[in-house]
């Protein structure tokens, strides 16, 4: 085991796959010589050379087009879109081209590629560099959607994404880059479409994703002190969705809370709540509760942004109010 940051886990995960398979290539803005704007890809250019670690112009459409064309002709590209907000300027490639190609061509073309992107708020970047946009991707048929919360998951899920035959959107949370965790040594490969129970409790289930996972765990500790014992499930992957693990946790506890760092309308929590209600209505002790940001763009100031994104206190207060 090695203690490393989420940021270093990104470089380790990419390096592991570049090392393993000559078909893997990596491209994006500032990813090579500069080592990435979040310093998450340092050392890769030196190790693998400019043919496989390619610095691009600020041309998001050109980046994803190159990744797509390379994927359909035998390579396995990892493309970085620096901030997930910038996906909006290449959404045609994401949603119209990459997502639909296999279906429209009746299975003639596979696109084994990964789009990595810095997602989420909490860094005071304002509304055009802070959004949590995993919902956008989840709504498009043909995209797998992954959002790891720990350094170990970054390495393992990234490897699984690179080896997957379908396009995967890999949402790294910007706020988690400096966080640390133990990562097993040697090659790690995780499985897409699997949720992880991070904490077991009997009274309620809290579902969380990415940066909301450590907050949910802190909240669960505080709740335990107040006599409420929560299960915390790290959803990890929205598509495919590990419904089995989620339903099992909710059925055992009878009460569901989702913690989402995205605007409330059409958040992923709504989709999961709908699945839960349809499948295990009889096991529920009360209506599922969603904890989300309000339906607003993210503000920038410390006070405003902190009050917009679900905090540990908000999770604790919401759960206590319902459970009492």
């Amino acid at each position: 085991m090695t203690l490393m940051t989420y940021r270093d886990a990104v470089a380790r995960g990419i390096a592991q796959e570049l090392e393993r398979d000559d078909r893997v290539v990596f491209l994006g803005e500032d990813v090579g010589a500069a080592g990435g704007v979040f310093k998450a890809t340092g050392g890769l250019l030196e190790r693998f050379g400019p043919l496989r670690v390619a610095d691009t112009p600020i041309s998001e459409q050109a980046i994803l087009g190159a990744a797509m064309g390379a994927a359909m002709t035998g390579l396995r590209p990892i493309a970085e879109i620096m901030f997930s907000d910038f996906l909006a300027v290449c959404w045609d490639l994401v949603a119209n081209e990459i997502a639909k190609t296999r279906y429209m061509t009746n299975g003639q073309i596979s696109l084994p590629l990964v789009i990595r992107t810095g997602n989420g708020g909490g860094l005071r970047f304002g509304a055009q560099h802070s959004q949590s946009l995993e919902n956008w991707a989840m709504a498009v048929p043909g995209l797998k959607v992954v959002a790891p919360s720990t350094p170990e998951d970054v390495v393992g899920l990234l490897a699984a994404a690179v080896r997957d035959p379908d396009p995967v959107m890999f949402f790294e949370h910007k706020g988690l880059y400096p966080t640390k965790g133990e990562v097993p040594d040697g090659e790690i490969v995780d499985t897409l479409g699997t949720a992880k129970v991070r904490r077991r409790g009997t009274d309620c289930t809290i579902l969380a994703l990415a940066a909301m996972v450590p907050r949910a765990l802190k909240a669960a500790d505080a709740l335990a002190a107040a006599g409420v014992n929560a299960t915390v499930v790290d959803v990890r992957s929205l598509v495919p969705l590990d419904t089995a693990t989620i339903l099992d946790a909710v059925a055992r506890t009878g009460q569901l809370f989702t913690v989402e760092e995205n605007p409330r309308l059409c958040g992923w929590g709504a989709e999961i709540v709908s699945v839960v209600v349809e499948e295990i209505w009889d096991d529920l002790d009360g209506p599922p509760i969603r904890i989300t940001t309000p339906h607003v763009p993210l503000p920038s100031s410390d006070t405003l942004e902190d009050a917009t994104i679900p905090s540990v206190t908000r999770i604790v207060d919401t759960v206590r109010k319902v459970m009492e």
């Binding site: 087009g65 190159a66 994927a71 296999r102 596979s110």
Partner: protein
């Protein structure tokens, strides 16, 4: 007969071309196939058998035919929603294309793609793309892959004049030039951006070629209605890209005989513009050229009859083919063949 200069075509051919007699006949046969197929598709549309929309390239056949005849089997074509001709020209049979237009199970994509999304990977036809400009960036990716894998394949990307005003065009040209990618960009300048004359919304007279210079590329303008000139241009461009010299951009000047899409009668075009272009119909002029060179009328008639039979057979087979199975709806979102998003 209008002269090339009357139509704004280059006065002297961009390429000195000597093309052998066999290739000239092949170009004629190819253009005839594209023309007859699309005319039939239009007839079937009028009978409500071809559904949705279709974008014909009647009048533009010389460009697709020239590239079809000069590309290597392992080169890649990236076409637009106006892509019937480019797909046929790579050697794809008429029947699966016709069946796709009719939405039948024997269609090239079993009815899941339609007119605007023709793809035949085994023929190097890597898709027809219906959002303007995206596929220039995708063709770059294929070219990048050829370069990294050390093959000498070339990606050829066709697009219309309207594409030159979209951001992806500029992003693609810049990346192709800086990465020296083996890609040939072919602008089919048919003078009209959908329903608007390209000149009225474009700051330079040659929408593709004039911009090519900004990315360090040699501007190449070709008479896109002259199959031999187009063939020579295609051959030279492919050679340039294949030998590692980076991308080429060709602006082929041509004219679409019909409207933008099947619902458009193109009444907005002045007769004095349309007529001289119709006189320079690439098939009519090529036929005359071949006869002048001593090809016997009977040889050309034989080709015409073969092609007509091919179109008739394809139509008949497509009309008699079964409708697609409903299980196709949920098939092939993912590589495992399914569309499952949850366990």
């Amino acid at each position: 007969m209008p002269t090339p200069t009357d139509l704004g075509l280059p006065e002297t051919p961009a390429f000195r071309h000597e093309v052998d007699a066999e290739t000239e006949l092949e170009l004629y046969r190819s253009m005839e196939r594209l023309r007859r197929f699309e005319k039939r598709a239009y007839d079937l549309f009028l009978q409500s058998l071809v559904k949705g929309t279709s974008h014909l390239s009647l009048g533009q056949e010389a460009i697709a035919a020239a590239f079809g005849a000069s590309m290597r089997p392992d080169d890649w074509t990236f076409a637009t929603y106006r892509g019937h001709a480019h797909t046929l020209a790579r050697g794809v049979a008429m029947e699966p294309i016709m069946a796709e237009l009719l939405g039948r199970s024997t269609g090239l994509m079993a009815g899941k793609g339609g007119s605007m999304h023709l793809t035949s990977v085994e023929h190097g036809v890597m898709g027809s793309y219906a959002i303007i400009g995206a596929h220039l960036t995708i063709a770059n990716g294929a070219a990048w892959s050829a370069k990294l894998r050390g093959t000498d394949q070339v990606a050829v990307c066709f697009f219309g004049d309207g594409t030159t005003n979209i951001g992806a065009f500029h992003e693609a040209l810049n990346l192709a030039a800086t990465w020296k990618l083996p890609v040939v960009f072919v602008c089919e300048n048919n003078q009209w951006m959908e329903y608007t004359p390209i000149g009225s919304v474009t700051a330079v007279p040659r929408p593709a070629a004039d911009r090519a210079a900004a990315y360090g590329l040699e501007p190449v303008v070709v008479d896109g209605n002259d199959a031999t000139a187009m063939y020579a241009a295609a051959r030279d461009a492919l050679r340039h890209a294949r030998s590692g010299h980076g991308p080429v951009l060709i602006e082929a000047l041509t004219y679409r005989h019909g409207g933008h899409s099947r619902a458009d009668p193109a009444k907005y075009r002045p007769a004095e513009e349309v007529e001289p272009w119709l006189l320079r119909d690439p098939l009519v002029t090529y036929r005359a050229h071949l006869l002048r060179k001593g090809v016997e009328e009977g040889v050309l008639k034989g080709i015409d009859e073969d092609v007509l039979r091919e179109v008739d057979d394809a139509t008949e087979a497509a009309r008699n083919a079964p409708e697609p199975d409903l299980t196709l709806i949920e098939r092939d979102v993912w590589a495992d063949g399914s569309s499952a998003w949850r366990n």
